[in-house]
C-alpha cells in the first residue's frame, strides 16, 4: 500500500470521526490542532484505523504516538 493511500485513508477517518470535511492532515499535526481530539477520540481513531487497514496494534505500538506522522509511519510498518 502506497504512502499516499495510507495518508488518504487516515485523513478520511479523521474527517468522519470529527465530522469535518475540511480537515487536511499534516505530519506535524497533534491533538492540540484539532479541538475534539482528546484521549477518547485517540482510541476511536486507532480502532477505526485498525479496521480500515485490517491491522492490529500491539500495546507498544500505540503507547507513544506524538503526532500524525507517527501514526502514518505505524500504519505503513504494519500494512505497508
Amino acid at each position: 500500500m502506497s504512502e499516499q493511500e495510507i495518508f488518504e485513508g487516515v485523513q478520511e477517518i479523521f474527517r468522519t470521526v470529527f465530522d469535518d470535511d475540511e480537515i487536511v492532515l499534516t505530519r506535524e499535526m497533534t491533538a492540540d490542532d484539532i479541538e475534539d481530539w482528546d484521549s477518547l477520540e485517540q482510541i476511536n481513531l486507532l480502532v477505526a484505523i485498525e479496521k480500515k487497514f485490517s491491522i492490529k496494534f500491539k500495546l507498544d505500538d500505540v503507547k507513544n504516538l506524538p503526532n500524525v506522522g507517527a501514526m502514518l509511519d505505524l500504519v505503513k510498518r504494519l500494512a505497508g
Binding site: 468522519t16 470521526v17 482510541i43 480502532v47 477505526a48 479496521k51 496494534f57
Partner: protein
Amino acid sequence: MNPLDYPFDGATLLQKKRSLRRELLQRQGLVEKKVAILSGSTIGEIKNMLELFLLNEGIKPEFFVGGYGLFYENLVFDDGSLAAFAPDFLYIHTSRKNIKELPLPTDSEEAVQAKLDAEWARFEAAFEAAKKLGCAVIVNNFDPPTHRLMGNRDAVDARGSVHFINELNARIATYVAKNDGFYLNDLAYLACRFGLDNWFSESEWYLYKYAVSMQYIPELCHSISLIIKSLLGKNKKGLVLDLDKTLWGGIIGEVGAEGVELSTETPGGMAYSEFQQYLRQLEDLGILLNVASKNEESIALTGFARDDSPLKRKDFLCFKANWEPKSENIAKIAQEINILPESLVFVDDNPAEREIVRQQLPGVVIASFDSPEGMIAALDRAGYFEVTALSADDAKRNEMYRQNLQRAAAQQSFGSYEDYLRSLEMTAELGGFDQPHAERITQLINKTNQFNLTTRRYTAQEVEALLGNPDAVTLYGRLTDKFGDNGLVSAMIGSVEGDRCTVELWIMSCRVFKRNLEQAMMDEFVRRCAAKGVKTIVGRYLPTAKNLLVKEIYGTMGFEKVSDDPAQTVFELDVASYRRQNEILTVVTKD
C-alpha cells in the same frame, strides 16, 4: 436504511457518531430524560453510543457521568450531586474487572465463601443505595473470565473463577427479580454471543481501561437502550407476517399445502417450523400476530390446517390474504386493531415488498434477514419486544383483541351506537390503586400513548408511593363485557392541594375507547374528589405526536377551558355542578 436500526454496523456508528447525533437531534418530538451512568471502568464512548440509540428511539438524554471507577463511592457516599440530578434512569457500568478478589486455589471452603459474601455485600450496598434514588436502575452481571487457572474444572470447583462469577451472577439475578425498578443488562449473555475473545480486549483494557472492547460498545449500548425504551412504552406491539417463503418454504398457490416446506423432516422445513414456534411464543408474551400475504385466502388457510403447522388460523388477529398492496393491508390492520402503524414490525422475505412498505408507511419497522434460518435472530436481537414486565394480562392480549374484532362485527348489526354499547352488557370495576394492581398500572402508564392526557411516566416506585397517600386520588378501571374480560385498562392520578385537585395522569388502553368507560371513570373520580372536599378539578392536555384523540375530552365532560397554548390546554371543573355521565355501564366500586 437508518444506520442505527438493527442490524447496525458498530464501526460505522463509532466513526460517524458526530454527524449521526447532529441529524438525530433535529427530529421532532424528542422526549427528554435524565440518565446517570456510573463507572466501574471507562465510560467514554458508552455515553456517546447510548445517546445515539436513545435519540433513535425518540428519547433525548441528559447525562450525569460518575467519576472513573467510582460507582460504589458515587452511590454509597453520594455527595448529593447524584440525588440532585434526579435521574430517570441509572446505569451502573460494572464488569468482571470490578470484582476485587477472586478465589485462589489455596483458599479453604470458608475463605471462598467469605470472599463471595464480601463481593456481594459491596454490590448489594451499591444497589441498595441506588434504590433510594427512586428511579429505574439498570445493572450488569459479570462477563466470564478470559482465562481459567484450572481449565474446565474452574466451573465446578468453588475455588475456580468461573464458578465464583456464576455464583455472583445468580445473586444479582435474584436481587433484580426481587426488587421492583431493577433491570438486568445481561453482560454475560452479550459476552457469550459475541465471543469472549472479541468482547474483551487485553490491550484496550491495559491502554484505556475499557472493560468491553470498543467495537462492541455499540452492542452494549443497544442492549441498555432496549431496556430504557421498553420502560418508556416504546416497544412494538405486533407483527405483520408474509406467508410464502416467510412462514413456510415455497409458494402455496403453486405447490399446495402439502407441497410447501414446513415439516421438521427437512432442514428448510425445520427452520420455518421453528420460526412459527418462536412466533407462537411471542403471542404468549402478548405480541399481536397478523398476516399480509399476496395469496387467495382460501388457499393460504390450507397451510395452517396442516397437522404439523405450529401456528393455526386462530393465532392470527387480522388475516389479509389478497392481492392489494401490502402497505394498504398493513394500514388496514393497524386501523382494525386500533394501534399505530409504527407499533408494527413487518416480516417479509421479498426485498421489493419491504421497499414498498418502507416508502408508503415509513413508521413501520422492517425486519432484516436474508434466509429462513436468520428470521428468529432478526426479531430476537433487534429487541422490538424487550420485556421489562410481564403481567397476566399480556398472555391474554391476543384473546382480548380478538374479542374486540368480534365486538366490531357485532356493532354492525345495531341501529345506534348506544344500542350496541348496551348489548355488550358491560361492567366496570373501579377502585383506588392497590398492591395487587400496581405492576399492571405501572406497565399501562408507561406504554399508553394515544389516550394519554399528560404522557407523564411513572416508575414502579412512584406508583407504590401513591398507595394510601392521602393527598392523591387514584383510580383504576377494569372492564368486562359479554365477550370477555378486557383487564385493567384505565388509570387516573390526581394530586390534591387544598380544595383543588389536578389530574396528573389519565390513560386508557386503545382497546376500550368510546365504550363509556371514560364517562364512568370521570363520574367516580369526581365522586372521590368530592369526598375529599375538593371543589375544583383541574385537567390538562399536553400534546404529543400521538394523543390528539383526547385533546377535547375534558370539554365534553363539563370542564371549562381556561387557557390554551401550544404547550398545554388547561380545563377546570366546578365539582358542585358536575352531572353524572354514565348510564350504560354497571359500575362496581372497590376501595
